[in-house]
């Protein structure tokens, strides 16, 4: 008799529980979500990793290295145009010196990026970024020579160096990786010097216009 009472009750309770699991608010238990989705992990961000990066590089270090690589890769073809498009020795010398610096920075930045384990590119670098020359502007440079070329080139170089110094200064303040922040400090120092050399050479009202 007792067993007859107990059996249907157990079945009913089981049915209730099953119904509760199937139709009630689906907590982590009873759902098809894998165990990694336990609400505790979701509710406590400290248990989820802030980024996938590990080691001594901060997100700012990595973003700056990615951007520095992208900017160097963008300006080098511009610098390459100089020897063929102007005979002015002042401009050719300036371009050669800056190219040497950019290539050295690019080499170091790529190595540091490799050390960080981060991808060499990021979703936002690309066209229409501050200080980066666009395809149309590069085409305009390629079809100009002499003083017209110098004027366009100086404008792009100024934009590049200004942006490079701006973000390197931010990395110097906000970065954590010693060699990366040291590179940023060098970019600020060298970029500021190059901008000062560019000023008197550029016929845009800011300098003496010696090359105009």
């Amino acid at each position: 008799m007792r067993a007859l009472v107990a059996a249907p009750s157990t079945l009913l309770i089981a049915a209730l529980l099953a119904a509760g699991c199937a139709a009630g608010p689906p907590d982590a238990a009873g759902t098809t979500a894998p165990s990694v989705a336990a609400p505790t992990a979701v509710a406590a961000p400290s248990t989820a990793r802030a980024t996938g990066t590990a080691g001594p590089f901060s997100p700012t270090d990595i973003a700056w290295l990615q951007l520095t690589v992208a900017m160097a890769e963008r300006v080098l073809p511009v610098l390459d145009l100089v020897p063929a498009r102007t005979t002015d020795p002042t401009w050719r010398r300036l371009a050669a010196q800056i190219e040497t610096t950019e290539r050295a920075n690019l080499t170091v930045s790529r190595r540091l990026l490799g050390d960080s384990g981060a991808p060499a590119t990021n979703p936002h670098e690309g066209h229409d970024m501050p200080g980066m020359i666009g395809a149309d502007e590069l085409a305009a440079l390629r079809s100009s020579t002499g003083k017209a070329f110098q004027r366009l080139f100086a404008g792009h170089l100024r934009a590049h160096l200004t942006q490079a110094v701006r973000i390197a200064a931010a990395e110097q303040r906000g970065g954590v990786h010693p060699e990366t922040t040291a590179l940023a400090a060098a970019v600020v120092r060298r970029g500021t010097t190059d901008l000062a050399r560019l000023d008197p050479a550029v016929p845009d009202g800011r300098g003496a216009g010696q090359a105009a």
């Binding site: 008799m1 007792r2 007859l4 009472v5 249907p8 009750s9 009913l12 309770i13 049915a15 209730l16 119904a19 509760g20 139709a23 009630g24 608010p25 689906p26 982590a28 759902t31 098809t32 979500a33 894998p34 990694v36 989705a37 609400p39 992990a41 979701v42 509710a43 961000p45 989820a48 990793r49 802030a50 980024t51 996938g52 990066t53 901060s58 997100p59 700012t60 973003a63 700056w64 951007l67 960080s116 981060a118 991808p119 590119t121 990021n122 979703p123 936002h124 670098e125 690309g126 066209h127 229409d128 970024m129 501050p130 942006q163 701006r166 973000i167 931010a170 990395e171 906000g174 970065g175």
Partner: protein
Amino acid sequence: MDRAAPLSGIPRRLRLATAIGALLALLGTYMVSTTARADAAPGANAIRVAEFPADCTYSHRLPDDPIIFPGLPGASHMHSFFGSTVTNAHTTLRDLVNSPTTCNPRTDVSSYWVPTLYNNNVPVEPTIVTFYYLGEGVRADVVAATQPLPQGLRIVAGNAKAAGPNESIARWSCLHAGQVPPSKNFVTCPAGTMMESYLDFPQCWNGRDLDSPDHKSHMAYPVNQACPSTHPVHVPKLRQVLRYPVNGNPAQFRLASGPGYTMHGDFFNAWPVAEMARRVQDCIRPVIKCGHDGRPI
């Protein structure tokens, strides 16, 4: 007598009938309530769409991106920000959770941003900005197992570097002019209508990382109506809908990132944990359309 003491004075047959009756009554009540929830839902007029919205008007513009270029002010192309009013290059979750917001509901202090739209080089901001949180694009059982978006999660959608429409998931169309076919690039909208942009964010999370070095690989889009094993946690799908007060020839339109197909969106989740969890439980899992307050409409 080895029966439980409280029942010992009641005839056995009655006890049995009472117990079964009570259980049946309980079961019946439960089935009615669950059936109601499944078929008609509270209020009988509930709309069977898994959705809750946040409308977040334009807040500010900055050439900053705290996801892609954290700590580097001025490093980005121009962005238009919605939601939290404090976002800049240095913004962290802590900054967001205490910030004012442009969102309805006010409880959403998340930050959302997109490349600024220019018309003849003049910035144009969308006047209707809605972020829908949806349970769709996956099987019903996956929707029913949706987990809340973890606080601090960062998601990027779209392709800022797209070199052509084929590399893009952008969608441009015209509000109140459905006859104009949607396109991955800007469309010509009739006078009196607004050009609009739709963008769907990935809804499968790897369950571990709030961000990743490329800012994409911790999230994935569904495959065959389910989340892939690498990204097994189904979270609400964020759909960004922006309505811009522009129409006509789009020749002079451009985004800060380039042509229309470079449209992209960035999301930094700062919803209070309990508010997000309640909406997922009350709106997404049971497939009920909710309003800004996260209650069934």
